[in-house]
Symmetry: C2
Subunit: 438 residues, 2 copies
Amino acid sequence: MPQSVQAIHARWVIPVEPTNTVLDHHTVVIEDSQLAAIVPTAQWQSSGAHVEEISLPEHALIPGLVNAHTHAAMSLFRGMADDRPLMDWLENHIWPAEARAINREFVRDGTRLAAAEMLLGGTTCFNDMYFFGDEAASAAIEAGIRAVIGMIVIGFPSAWAADVDEYFRKGQAVHDKFRDHPLITSAFAPHAPYTVDDHALRRIATLAEELDLPVHMHVQETKDEVERAIAVSGVRPLRRLQGLGLVTPRLLGVHMTCLDDDELDLLAHSGATVVHCPESNLKLASGFCPVAKLLARGVNVACGTDGAASNNDLDMLGEIRTASLLAKGVAGDPCALPAAQALRMATYNGAQALGLERSIGSLEVGKQADMVAIDLGELRARPVYDPVSQIIYSSHRDQVSQVWVGGRRVVRDRQLVTLDLADVRAATDDWAERIRQA
Amino acid sequence: MPQSVQAIHARWVIPVEPTNTVLDHHTVVIEDSQLAAIVPTAQWQSSGAHVEEISLPEHALIPGLVNAHTHAAMSLFRGMADDRPLMDWLENHIWPAEARAINREFVRDGTRLAAAEMLLGGTTCFNDMYFFGDEAASAAIEAGIRAVIGMIVIGFPSAWAADVDEYFRKGQAVHDKFRDHPLITSAFAPHAPYTVDDHALRRIATLAEELDLPVHMHVQETKDEVERAIAVSGVRPLRRLQGLGLVTPRLLGVHMTCLDDDELDLLAHSGATVVHCPESNLKLASGFCPVAKLLARGVNVACGTDGAASNNDLDMLGEIRTASLLAKGVAGDPCALPAAQALRMATYNGAQALGLERSIGSLEVGKQADMVAIDLGELRARPVYDPVSQIIYSSHRDQVSQVWVGGRRVVRDRQLVTLDLADVRAATDDWAERIRQA
C-alpha cells in the first residue's frame, strides 16, 4: 500500500512520450514518488478516502523541465555586467568577482536562489557546473529539486581546489557522499577543451565508464575558440575530444555553435548530446547553434539556460520559446523546431542526456512523478486551439501553478513550500552589497 | 487647480529622456493627465490632503511601452496554425479564417482581448493595422489604452471595404470621428508594396502631408518579397516607395529584414522609422533585421509585436528582450543594442515614429502621464545591480504592477480596472469555437 496517493484531474495531459500526444480530461495518479496511472477522468475511481484530489480544470500537465546546463550559484551575479565584450565581461568582471566572492556560503546562497527560481518556473531537474558541489547538492535537497552535480575539473586553482588532483578528489567525494540520495546524481564536468589538459580528460573518459556517469563540458562555444584550438594544437576541439575517447553517448557538449558538416555527422554517429543554450549564445554573441540540422541528423539536442550572469534568468519555458523561434530564423524555415519538439527537448532529451530517461523526462507509468501544471485559463493564453502551441509560444513561467518532484508537491498554487523566500532574498541582497563594494 | 493629483514614490525612475539616467528614490507627481514634477522623494512636499500617494518602494517607473506595429484583433487567431510554411499559413489558415470570421464584432472582441493583454503587460499605446478601425478605436477607448488607428488600404475586398476608394472613404471617416479624442490618433496604413498600387500610394503620400499623419506599412519583410518586386517592376520596394514620395520622416516601414547598404543610407537620410518585430520575423523565418547597423547610422528604430497570430503574444517587454539578444547575435557583438537603448526603442522611438514624441515616450514634465511600474522586488529579479539591465534581461510583464494612461491608473496592483476580464474571456472562447467549427 502506498503511503500517499494524489489524483490530479487535468484539462490536458501532455506526456511527451509518446510524442505528439495530448490527452483531454485525464487524471494522473501519483503513488508516493511514482506515476501510478494516467486514465480518462471519466473512468477514474478513487481508491479511498486517503486520496488527495487536485482539480486543474484549465491546466496542462507536462513533465518537469530539465535544465541541462547551468551554473546555479552565479545567479548572485545576475545583471552585474551586461552589454560588454566577452573578454571584458570575463576578465574584468566575472572572474575578479568570482575570485573575491566564491566560497561555501556563496554557493549555498546562490544555489538556493537559483533553485527557488527554477522550481517556481517549472524546472524540476538541473545539471550544474560549479564549485563546492556538496553545497549545491545540499541546497538542491533543501529546495526539493533534482540535481546533477558536476564534478568540475579546470586547470586553474579556485577556492574549491588548488589543482587538478584536488578537483578530482573533491568531486568524487561529493559523488560518494550523495550517491544514495534520490534527488542527486553526478556528472564529470571538465570545464572546456581549452582549460583542461589531455591527461585529465583521459582520466575522465576512463572514470566516466567505470562509474557510469555523463561528461558535461562546454565545447566549441564560439568560432574564436575553434580557431585558437587549431592554432595551438592543429585540431578542432571536438576532434581532440574524439581522440581522447570522450565523444560517446555520455557526452553533453554545451553550446556547440561552431560545427562543420563532419562534426554534425560525428555527433550523430556517436550518440552524444548537444546542449543548446540559445539565450546565452545570443547575449554573448557566441554564434548560432545549427539546431535544425542537428535534429535532422537525429542528434539528441537538450536545452539549458546557462548561468544567470549571461542570460539573465533560469527560465526554461522562456528558453525553449527562444530556441524554437531562433531555430526557425537560423534555418530559414518556419517549420523548424515545432512546439512539440521544443517541449521534448526540454524534458525527455534532457533526461536522456543525463542518463535519467528511465526515471524522468516524460509522464509514463512507473517513472518518478516530476510534473508541472501550467494554467492556460489566463487571458493571454486564450483562445486555446492547441495546448502545446500555447505552452511554447504564448505561455510564461508565471502560469506554472503546481510543481511535483518525485511525487512531492513543492510548488502549490504558485507558492514554493520548501524555502523561506524572504530568507533567500535577504541573503541575495547581502551578497550583492558585498560584491558591489569589493 | 488640478482636479486630481497623484504622487508616486518610487525606488527608481527611469525617464528615458534624458537617456542613461536612473533617478533613485524619486517622486513622480501627476496632475490630471500630465506629469507635473519629478523630484527626489526627500524633497517632496504634499500640496494637501487631496493628493493620492502611492508608495512603490521596490519598483522602477518607466514610460508606457509603445507597440509600434500590431494587428490587435488577430489575437483571436493566437495559436491557430503554428509551425507551418508562410504561404500555407497565410493561404490555407489565416486568410480563410479571416474571410469567414471578420466582422465588426470580431474586431471589437479581438481588440478588447488585445488591449487587456497589452495594458496588463505595460503597453500604453499601440499602432494598429486592421479592418473596422472604428471598432478598434472604441475598444481602445473602453479599455483606456492609447491607440493609433490605421486607415488600412489594400487592393483586395474585405468585409470592411469593397475597393480602394471605399478603404479611403471609410478610413477617413474613422479619422474624422475620433479626431478630438485624447486617446486616439490616426495613420495611413497601406498594407504592403505588393498589395497597394502606385495610384493609391501617391494619394496616400499627398493626404499624409495634408493631414499631417504617419504612414504605416509592411516593407521588405522577406528576401522573397524583394525578389518578386524586382521581377515584376524592376525595382526594389523601398526604391519604388521613394519614387512615390513615401520615404520621409512620416514612414514607419515594418519588418525591413532585407536591406542593402544603399537602403540603410536612404533610411538614415530620409528620417524614416524602421519598426522591428523580432519575434514575428523569427517565427515566420522572414530574415534578420540589421538593427545594429540601422542604429549605427542613426535610423529611428521602433519595436512592435506584430499580431498574436505570428508571435504569439503582445508582450513588449518580452519583445525588446528578444530584440536586444537577437541584435547581439546578428551583429556578432555583445555590446549591440544595450539595455537602455532597447528600452528607448520601445518608448521614445515609438512615440517619435508616430508623431507623438511631444506628448508621450518619456517621463518629462508636461508630457502625458503614460507610465508603468515594474516590481523589481521579486526573487527572480534579484539582486539588482542595474535596474535597467534587470528590466530588459530579467523581468517579465507579470512584474508590471501599475499602469497609467493619460494620468488614469488603468492597472492597479496587477488588476485591469477598465474591462471585465471574464466577459473578454467568454467572448474570446466563443470566437475560437466558431472559428474551429467553420
